[in-house]
């Protein structure tokens, strides 16, 4: 049967008119066609072998095939066993294209296609193959990445590849890594003491993991007799360790600030509804949750524009949560004027209702919020220190939200009115302040900001009915720690709790770090019973 198909294909290939894609860009060796032909029906193991043969036979031209395979876009048309790359378009249709020339094909029905299975092992094989191809033919960046990945496996074959890349005229950056690879090989293979010491000199202070590992192995190797080499290796390793340690601290600081920014975002809306207005707002978490769900809905509404969805989600979430906030204020909170403790009870009830409403409308499952490309991945500063983009953007975003809020409260009359109303409602009325409007606007603002926080959190964690509950306790803690009614306190409070947590964590583990921070918080409040930045003056007594 297989044989039959095979021969049929061969015949077909021969009979194909000149316009046939394969005929137009024929893979260099005739063997390639045959290998390709085998892929659709190969086992995973067999596919691995095929890939290896394809690389040898087809060389750089196989890159699009490998890429498609790696991305899981490689399919075979069931009828013909012809290989195509298939992706989904915005409308969710399956569109195919020729592998080797990118020509568009008609849309497919999923039942006509068979996916070419790829597993983990195959994927790393493909990646290696692509790296090898890129080393010679890729862009500078691809080359750089390729050389780095080769450091792990300095086989003579790979070294030959490096050589040819070098002669093909690599950039300085690539040259440098190639030199490093050379040094590593020298250290490994050379018998000449000077050469080896020179190699270690080059390796010293490098942060690439294979360098460290090689040096470490060398130190652990009892077979290594050369004392000078060992001493030099130790020195080099110490230097590396020093730098790694430094970047480790930097990383921790970033982690801490990032955690702090999350705390700040979660707490900042509460700093208004609770801190300024005095409403013990147990539904604050649910306002965050609504913001996150708004993000989800926006992404559902515009599946083609995921990249911009967050930009749209921020104002949308502000409006949704803010609107709900205004409704809550008008419907419930307003009736509790002067009974601040009772707001706890009502808003607790509201939080239950909102949670269950979300469960009824969206199902109790987590919703999938996609991370846009520009928020994925990380800013690599060096092999041991990189900043993840989502955290970085959220950190900046938190600061921006904070600044905007401070501006609103300081510059607009709303800020002044809110403070006046919270200090003496009757007197504010007597001065012509529309206290009801101010209340609604303020609560709306605090809720809206919580919604905006929800947009950010949707990029970090689950978008589900329990989202709000996981932040409510931390939020209150941050606001109180900073000093109720003081926005700057919330900022400092959030960041210091975040950083403290992250610096403790390596030593104690996440749970214990959390416990220690809580206990310290309790003790701290004994020293400063009104938080970090207490209200001063006799009026505060």
């Amino acid at each position: 049967m297989k044989f039959l198909l095979h021969s049929l294909w061969l015949v077909a290939a021969l009979l194909l008119p000149a316009g046939s894609p394969l005929a137009q860009t024929p893979p260099t060796a005739p063997a390639v066609g045959e290998l390709l032909q085998q892929i659709p029906n190969a086992s995973l193991k067999k596919t691995g072998e095929l890939v290896q043969q394809l690389e040898q036979a087809g060389g750089a031209e196989m890159r699009p095939l490998f890429e498609a395979m790696l991305a899981g876009e490689l399919y075979a048309v069931k009828e013909s066993d012809k290989l195509v790359a298939v992706t989904k378009d915005r409308a969710g249709r399956l569109v195919g294209r020729e592998i080797f020339n990118d020509r568009k094909l008609a849309a497919f029905a999923s039942r006509d296609l068979k996916k070419i299975r790829v597993n983990n092992r195959l994927r790393s094989q493909l990646r290696d193959a692509i790296a090898r191809i890129d080393l010679l033919h890729g862009s500078e960046e691809q080359q750089h990445a390729a050389v780095l990945s080769i450091l792990d496996d300095l086989s003579s074959q790979n070294m030959r590849l490096l050589r040819s890349a070098e002669t093909a005229g690599a950039s300085a950056q690539v040259q440098e890594v190639i030199a490093l690879a050379d040094a590593m090989v020298q250290l490994r293979d050379s018998r000449v003491l000077e050469e080896r010491l020179a190699a270690i000199e080059i390796m010293s202070g490098r942060l690439e993991a294979p360098v460290r590992n090689q040096l470490q192995r060398l130190l652990n190797d009892d077979g290594e007799q050369e004392v000078a080499v060992k001493a030099a290796a130790q020195k080099a390793l110490d230097k590396i360790a020093g730098r790694v340690e430094f970047y480790g601290q930097m990383e921790q600081l970033f982690f801490g600030l990032s955690l702090g920014s999350v705390l700040l975002l979660a707490a900042i809306g509460l700093a208004i509804t609770f801190g300024v207005m005095g409403v013990i707002n147990m539904a604050h978490g649910e306002m965050i949750m609504l913001g996150a769900y708004t993000t989800y809905v926006i992404q559902q509404l515009m599946p083609g524009a995921i990249e911009y969805s967050l930009l749209l989600a921020v104002p949308a979430a502000f409006l949704v949560s803010g609107g709900v906030g205004v409704l809550i204020e008008r419907g419930v909170i307003r009736h509790l004027q002067g009974r601040p403790l009772e707001t706890l009870l009502a808003t607790f009830g509201l939080s239950l209702i909102l949670q269950q409403a979300v469960r009824s409308i969206f199902s109790p499952l987590n919703m999938q919020v996609v991370t846009p490309g520009w928020m994925s991945g990380s800013l690599v500063i060096n092999p041991v220190f990189s900043l993840t983009y989502n955290r970085l953007y959220i950190l900046l975003f938190a600061l921006a939200v904070f600044a905007a809020l401070v501006a609103i409260l300081k510059k607009s009359s709303l800020g002044l009115n809110v403070r006046a109303v919270s200090q003496n409602r009757d007197m504010a009325k007597a001065m012509g302040v529309r206290t009801e409007l101010v209340d609604a606007m303020t609560f709306g603002l605090g809720s809206g900001i919580a919604g905006v926080a929800g947009v950010a959190l949707s990029q970090l964690t689950n978008v589900g009915p329990n989202l709000g509950q996981s932040y409510i306790i931390d939020s209150f803690m941050v606001v109180v720690f900073g000093g109720v009614g003081n926005l700057l306190g919330t900022l400092v409070g959030g960041f210091s709790l975040g950083v403290a947590n992250k610096f403790l964590e390596p030593a104690t583990g996440a749970v214990l770090a959390n416990i220690i921070v809580l206990v310290c918080l309790i003790l701290f409040i004994q020293k400063r019973p009104k938080g970090l930045f207490p209200q001063r003056g006799r009026a505060a007594e």
């Binding site: 009115n417 006046a420 003496n424 009757d426 007597a430 001065m431 302040v433 206290t435 009026a539």
Partner: protein
């Protein structure tokens, strides 16, 4: 200017004001007096709209206002200086003054100079928190604050409580000046006879929630005082 008819007010079950009638003429300076607990503060709060009346009518410039909220009354031109001053303690002096600006009918959005002319001390204190001022300064601020909304009627509830003598004098002068020069109608609750006599031109005596006597200040004699003010 202001006419109150058959006003009744209750704190829940306890009735405080009983069928109270009161008339204040435009440009007058009326002093309301009565014993502790007679209901003076309650009356002023009803007038300002901070307490709901249970029945009765309040006319301001001929229009009934008992249905409108306090903020609306402020915009109509009723300025209020409450007993105990009620400065916004955490706002600066400047902010305390700015609060009332949007309520002005003439659209002015700057603190009028006139206020600093009347109370120069406020200019020096502009950036200090209201709550940190001394009692006398707070009182001046409270009056200044009420003047910011450019009122037609100024209501003062015991403005001299806890104020040093020279400032009491000063406040008296200012009130008289406002009344005489700016033609502001003034309603003043005052316990101290001396001050009342000096500043007020009319008086109303209250007892147990009703106005029991009303006349020119000159006619406030010992008999009335003994009857309604002595313990």
């Amino acid at each position: 200017m202001i006419r109150i008819e058959q006003l009744n007010q209750k704190y829940g079950g306890t009735q405080i004001l009983w069928n109270l009638d009161l008339e204040i003429e435009r440009g007058s300076c009326t002093c309301i007096m009565g014993r502790n607990g007679a209901g003076k503060t309650t009356l002023l709060k009803c007038l300002m709209g901070l307490l709901p009346a249970s029945s009765g009518q309040i006319l301001f410039e001929g229009r009934p206002i008992e249905g409108s909220a306090a903020q609306a009354r402020a915009k109509m031109g009723i300025g209020y200086v409450p007993q105990g001053r009620d400065i916004f303690p955490l706002l600066t002096v400047e902010e305390n003054l700015q609060i009332g600006l949007p309520a002005r009918r003439d659209g002015l959005r700057r603190i009028p100079e006139r206020i600093f002319e009347l109370f120069p001390v406020l200019r020096d204190m502009l950036h200090r928190r209201g709550g940190d001022l001394s009692g006398g300064q707070q009182q001046q601020l409270a009056i200044g604050r009420a003047l910011v909304i450019d009122p037609k009627v100024l209501i003062l509830d015991e403005p001299n409580e806890g104020i040093q003598p020279n400032i009491v004098r000063q406040i008296g002068d200012v009130v008289m000046q406002l009344n005489a020069e700016d033609g502001l109608t003034v309603i003043l609750v005052e316990q101290k006879l001396g001050f009342a006599r000096r500043v007020g031109r009319e008086f109303r005596l209250m007892q147990k929630g009703s106005v029991v006597a009303a006349d020119k200040m000159a006619n406030l004699d010992d008999g009335l005082i003994r009857q309604y003010l002595a313990v």
